[in-house]
Symmetry: C2
Subunit: 461 residues, 2 copies
Amino acid sequence: MEELQALWDRYKEAVRSGGNPQALYQEMVWPALVARWKEAPNVHPRREAFAVSVHTLGTSPEATILAILGAGAERVYVLHTRESASYLERLQKETGKPIYPLEVGKSDVAAIYREVKRILDQHGDVPVALDLTSGTKAMSAGLAVAGFFFRRFYPKARVVYVDNEDYDSELRRPRAGTERLIILQDPHEVLGEVDALFAKELYGRGEFAQAARYFQKMVGATGDGRWTLYQSLAEMYEAWHALNFPEAHKKGSGLLDKLAQNAWLNHPLNRSRDLLEKQVSLLEAGKAFLEGKDLGHRRGVGAVARTLLHLGEKEHRPLLAALYAYRALELLLQERLYRYGRLADQPNLTPEEEAALRNALAEILGEPPSAVEVPKKLGLLHLIGLLRLLGDPLLAGKPAGELRGLGGVLQARNTSLLIHGFEVPTGRQVGALKGLAKDLLADLDKELGPAVSLEPLPLGF
Amino acid sequence: MEELQALWDRYKEAVRSGGNPQALYQEMVWPALVARWKEAPNVHPRREAFAVSVHTLGTSPEATILAILGAGAERVYVLHTRESASYLERLQKETGKPIYPLEVGKSDVAAIYREVKRILDQHGDVPVALDLTSGTKAMSAGLAVAGFFFRRFYPKARVVYVDNEDYDSELRRPRAGTERLIILQDPHEVLGEVDALFAKELYGRGEFAQAARYFQKMVGATGDGRWTLYQSLAEMYEAWHALNFPEAHKKGSGLLDKLAQNAWLNHPLNRSRDLLEKQVSLLEAGKAFLEGKDLGHRRGVGAVARTLLHLGEKEHRPLLAALYAYRALELLLQERLYRYGRLADQPNLTPEEEAALRNALAEILGEPPSAVEVPKKLGLLHLIGLLRLLGDPLLAGKPAGELRGLGGVLQARNTSLLIHGFEVPTGRQVGALKGLAKDLLADLDKELGPAVSLEPLPLGF
């Protein structure tokens, strides 16, 4: 070290006395520097045993020679331009290692990225040093962008570069002896931004279980506790969408408690606290209704029916969307029937009522009353017929012709491939079901007050 | 241009005659170069109207001055180190623009990445130039990594740098007049690697509709037709998982045709052609069975039941997993009953058979025969009882006690919150259902030959 300092001072003096800076450097300084790096390269934070190294090469072969020696790999790739090809021989000679050259355009970020990706694909299981010291900024950028991004798949890849602690601006050179090979932190990892992006995309698509897992991982990776709150939020929606109201309510109330704590008053989710409170209160109503199985708990019925309809909207597989819509419709009909003191699975019809129901259904279906069956447990169409008989304001007001179109799909519930049959309903059939269920829900809302949005809270990032 | 060339020649001569290269450059060349860039900067491929520019700054303020002039933005951020702070005043003076300085550590990739992200978050809706010309390689890398990655959200951001077409290695300077500001291609976009990653993750998670959309997008973004084959594959699984066998079969056979074409013989999916053929043939069997509703089509029944069980395994919401398992079990029981010439929804029991069934069920349930109901359409438990009576080898061989544990969950099908009731089954209950269904499927497999894996094909990238 002291030896290099002395050499540098003598070199500087020689340049000032009018010598050629380049030639003098090669003669006076460089041999000692290379000798030193062959013996003990200066690597920060510590030396690693790389099996492969990849280097961009521009007009400063010296830095690349140091990087090759610092990485110490046996397999060395060099991404060079047409101009810098002339330095390849020198690299080989001075490092004593075979060099695998790859020519790229000096501004072709994509080509460098592609080459780096290809090398990583080949050597994904061993430690690879990606050195961006030399070459144009475009070359270095291409290498860094590829290196940091593909660490997701090849975690043994490291991006490195030769820095110097002191730059002599008079000589336009790093002062010899202050060079060190730095292993760079992966910014994607440090800041968790790629995971944040994944989590956000998953959350936005309603993949809440997966989003929660990413948020959880990010707490560890970034040391930033704010992600735990996002994890709770995603877990709340996950349970809610699995119709597990007690679990969803627990997660939601826990989150509200946390957001009220001093540490999290500025958490982005607090900007949507109002909506979160309404959603948690909806979950509480749904939970109470399901626990008590009390069709008189109208807020609870509304909460569950709204959830079923929401899930039906989000579900792109028609079979499942139909199931949600059928159940939402049935639940809303059950609630209305309960207002008349009746239950769908024990309607206790008088013979007169049964005859009247047969006639009412015959009118809707356009069939003779004798062809209509009235089972012990009423199906969807029977519930509608009975409610019309009982004078339900909304259903009695609908003309029989309008309901006739629905007759088929209402009776088809049991022939679904997911229930007892072999049919897959079409999107149009599902739409008709949803339409009627939405009418009933809107009618219930008139009584319960403004509807709460079930859309997931904005994440605020 | 010619004027600059003449200046350069005179400058070079002056340096050779022993003048100070730095001082002479500032005096002889630089003023003309700046004047030229103020008037008509050289931008490749063409000038853009940037509203904001962000620059890393090291020991070459000249290049940054050109970059600021080339970007032409009114709001200019400069990421500088403690050492390069001294150049800030010069930037401001020579460009005539106010500069917003941000100090960063010269090797702190993460800090630069964070600052760039923050600036993009603030100015996401206007064109931003991110210039990596000056500064250490770590600084440039941090800027490039952030800039290219966050273009997903801020597509108006561009990564740029000042390159030169001719570097004078004697003077260690770009030859004046050959500098140009290059707007770099985004390598993630050019190669579609980020989208490929997303598509792969989605595919791996069974989000086939979304994966198909990414693959489709990539065809346009990369111009690489091989992604269309992945799109078809994802669409096949999407339809299959929606139990739409005809559509899935159509997609699968179309894909097989394409893979046999000359252009795609080396497509990675051809490595799994064998499995794909088996899956497509399974889809064909399922399709034929559902179209003909023929329980005698055992391969078709097997295909649909295996699919239902597979979906039940993949589904993490217990309510839906239960539905799949119930239906798989029922279908397999229906098929077995059909071997005895009976149908579940029209069992045509003789009075003797009905009495015997009542007794058989009473034994399983541990209840008196008088408490057992036998409805017109047989439920799961009745089917099992009847098959035992009829001498089904597998079911008659199971002791009544073993089936008793299943009695509750078999009868609970209709009380599910998704069917007619308010219950959410537990994972354990679903497990018991699956267990019996798997036994029956394995028994069917003995006859049909080795089972085909329903796991999605490996993508090979």
